[in-house]
Amino acid sequence: MPLAPLAIAALLFGSALEPRRAADPALDPAVALDRAMSEAEGSLRDGELESAESRYRAALVEGWLLMGSLEAVDGRRAAALQAFERASTVGGETQRAQRSRALVLASSDPAPWTAPELEGVPPADRPALRRRVVAALASAYLNLGVIQAQRQRFARAAELLETAAEIDPAFPKVQYSLGVALFNAQQFDKATGPLTRALADQPRDVALQRMLAIAWLNTEAFDKAAALLRDDPGREDDASLQYAYGLALVRGNRASEAEPVFARLLARHGDSAELNVLLGQAHAQRGDFDAAVQSLKRALELKPGVAEASAALGVIYLKQGRLPEAEAALRAELKGHPSDVKTAHNLATVLDRQGRPQEALALLREVLKAKPDFADARYLFGKVLLAQGAAEEAAQHLEAAARLAPDDANIRYQLGQAYQKLGRSDAAREQFEVFQKLKDKRRGGGS
């Protein structure tokens, strides 16, 4: 079920640079970098985003050139060349970068290159200078990311913020900003890492906790989502949070905990189709098919065609062996949601069980076209083919299914049957042995 993304949090942060040394500007090789950063921050404070963006890019050029020189004098030629390359690509300023690259390449290895701008910096001061450059680069990328986020270009923002985090993972707010940008770019699987790290830094940030919970929900880490939502102080009063909590519980096969959550939601916020769908799914999970059918039918009454209601009904009928009813319900779901490959797969199962293998195969071809890595569909396709006598083709699909889901015992069984039909007894035996091991593992030992 798609979830509305949370509103992006405010993302304007200061550069938080290390305090600059009161040094003779003539001897300070970072003077250009500092100037560019100051100007960029000034533009940012004035709300001049385009100017700020341009100045941050200028700062990035200065920063990468200086970083290249620092790498070069320390004898890290590859890192130096990479830094000069980045200076070329970020700012469009190539002359100085190219010259520096050429000088590094021309210098004799392994003798370190002497950068002219670092001549006045004693070796003992270089680490401090490096820290200043790193901080400036991280800050520049961070704020460039924030500017992109303000323009709702979350994917681009996330790229810039990833670079900031790569340069300095501990830079203030970088994990938070990256997590939020990734979340808003709906890259939930990538968002969970930075959001988790940010929450570790700010454990009382309720908004952050909710964002992480929703990210876990979207990555099907239902128990983690439920754990965060369970502890949310505002959940009982917030219908959407309560709904998300119930959803996490249902999806995590914890229907017995979900049912009272939904009951409270119904009592406090009234009847809704979506709620009845989830309630139906929770009842079904707990084996109360009568109550599940009642809730799902109620959902369809409230909102004909509501997502997942007919699909869930279809699955219940399939489990009960009521195949014509299952077919009708699953077709109804697909009418409203034709791209629902899971429901299409279930319909193919029903068709096969009704002795209509050709229809099942045709449907599965469509499913696999839309989602080639759908292991269950690949398995069923192979199984139906095998029953039709196409053992060679079946084996290919079952092998693909086994690659996609190597711990699925049933795929191994079917693959063994395909090999058996092909006269490959040894290969079949291997698969049956894997099957037995996986089943034994599942039940925790022997029989």
Binding site: G287, F289, G321, R353, N410, Q420, G446
Partner: protein, 518 residues
């Protein structure tokens, strides 16, 4: 028939849920099939063997039966589970073997309406929790051997506590524990030494079940038609076994490669009863296995070199999903020349009626009767036969036989709780028929393992003589053929267990034919 099967009302222990075999055999050689019903103890009555009373009913031939148990001396086999029969010593009189928890019993038929318990002398006590049994001459030495499946290791003094533990719950309610979570136990093969004594050779023969699966129904049958009896064992909650007879006293377990170990999707099913029959008149014996609820009963079609799970394709699977299946049989109930199917059902948890049932039916369950359409599919038609089949019961054992020799197959069902059912076939428009009784020579007078083939018009039928059928039960060993409109069998051929054949031609329909091996 006043028999009552005993069981504790709450079935708090798995040992109180599994009993109830029934055997149909002519113990007094009067040409009428008699009935033996197995009773069981409970945890509460475990120390009083007389608290359970199994019963032998003599068929009087006028639709009535007489309780002859006490005279016969077969009332108290202990914690009885099931039964199978055979003329173990080749004297022409049927003997009775009863499986039990705590030691099995071989009752020798003394030809005068009484039996002697010769278990100890024969070495057939077995021990542990025995369930299925069946005799066959697996090494073709002319003497009948015996296979016994066993279920779970139990210690009555230390039973797993009701409702305590993950495998003692069903959808949140407390139920009996097992079989999952309990230790299984090995199976037994007793070789007939020919001197009235048997020797247990299961391990040596390769049928001992070292993985200790939960064995229940069994079937001896020659699936590959090489003349040597093979063996199928239905295991509960674990893969089933198909043992190929290697003709040297040993077997090779081939259930996985042959496609009969698990469901078509690799599901380990709760196998209970087994039926074997040529339902599509292909000349090959297919396997039907009853399973637990929310699985489905399995029909494995014998393709010759492999079996295919055709349960859904045959339209027998979907209707079976709600039921826990037990006794089962292929039978041509309407004599149309096609083997139909029956399965009797009943849940193991009385608490089921208070539980969220999912796709399962309640505790008491109706029967399933499938009419063979002749195209590889079946129609479930129990409702056409009224309450005899649709009444909810807690059925276990089922045996099929022609109790009144009228050419229509009758049914006897042993229920876990209460009285059994004797279902008399009164189908008015049934077709013509033949009933064939074989008399083998040598030690196997029942001709167990013989195959009878009948050709009648376009019909080409095949039946197998078996000891140990269904769920812990014994069908009438006389073989029944429905002939539809055909008034005679053009040919009737017997392939005897020793490989010799007898062929008759132009056999008139509607009669009992007795064929003696020469």
């Amino acid at each position: 028939m006043a028999f009552e099967h005993h069981s504790a009302p709450d079935k708090k222990y798995i040992v109180e849920s599994m009993s109830g075999g029934v055997a149909l055999f002519d113990y007094d050689n009067d040409g009428r099939i008699d009935i033996y019903l197995v009773d069981s103890l409970t945890v509460e009555t475990a120390k009083d063997p007389k608290a359970a009373r199994s019963a032998l009913y003599r068929n009087l031939g006028d639709g009535r039966f007489q309780d002859v148990t006490d005279k016969a001396g077969v009332a108290h086999p202990g914690w009885g589970m099931g039964a199978c029969t055979a003329d173990v010593d080749g004297d022409g009189w049927e003997d009775l073997y009863v499986t039990a928890l705590g030691g099995n019993h071989l009752y020798h038929n003394d030809h005068d309406g009484t039996f002697s318990d010769i278990t100890a002398r024969a070495g057939l006590a077995g021990g542990g929790w025995s369930t299925g049994c069946g005799f066959a001459d697996y090494d073709r030495d002319g003497r009948l051997d015996l296979f016994v499946s066993r279920y779970v290791k139990v210690d009555l003094e230390n039973l797993p506590e009701f409702g305590k533990g993950k495998t003692c719950e069903f959808r949140g309610i407390a139920v009996q524990c097992g079989p999952r979570g309990l230790p299984g136990t090995s199976d037994l093969l007793f070789h007939n030494d020919g001197n009235g004594h048997f020797t247990e050779v299961g391990e040596k023969a390769g049928v001992s079940d070292p993985r200790a699966y939960f064995g229940l129904g069994i079937a001896w049958f020659d699936y590959n038609q090489d003349g040597w009896p093979d063996l199928y064992v239905a295991n509960d909650s674990t893969p089933s076994f198909l043992y190929l007879n290697q003709k040297d006293g040993t077997f090779k377990e081939l259930a996985f490669p042959m496609g009969v170990a698990v469901s078509e999707d690799g599901g380990e099913q709760g196998g209970m009863g087994v039926a074997v029959g040529d339902y599509d008149n292909s000349g090959r014996l297919s396997v039907f296995k009853t399973n637990f609820a929310e699985e489905y009963n399995s029909l494995f079609h014998n393709d010759g070199d492999h079996f295919t799970d055709v349960s859904f394709r045959s339209k027998t699977a979907a209707s079976s999903i709600p039921f826990v299946g037990w006794g089962t049989a292929f039978l041509d109930y309407d004599n149309d020349g096609l083997l139909d199917l029956i399965a009797v059902n009943g849940h193991v948890y009385p608490q089921m009626d208070q539980a969220r049932r999912g796709a399962s039916a309640g505790y008491r369950q109706r029967k399933l009767l499938y009419h063979n359409r002749g195209d590889g599919t079946f129609d479930e038609v129990a409702a056409q036969f009224g309450s005899a089949l649709t009444e909810g019961r807690i059925s276990r054992g089922l045996a099929v036989g022609d109790l009144d020799n009228d050419g229509r197959l009758d049914l006897v069902v042993d229920d876990l709780d209460g009285s059994p059912q004797l279902l008399h076939n009164e189908l008015a428009d049934a077709g013509h028929w033949l009933l064939v009784k074989l008399v083998g020579k040598g030690g196997n007078t029942d001709a167990i393992g013989a195959v009878v083939r009948v050709k009648a018009g376009k019909l080409s039928l095949m039946r197998l003589v078996q000891s140990g059928t269904s769920y812990l039960s014994q069908d009438d060993m006389r073989r029944h053929f429905g002939l539809g409109r055909e008034t005679q069998a053009d040919s009737l051929e017997v392939l005897w267990p020793d490989g010799t054949t007898t062929k008759l031609e132009n056999v008139k329909a509607n009669q009992l034919v007795e064929i003696k091996q020469k």
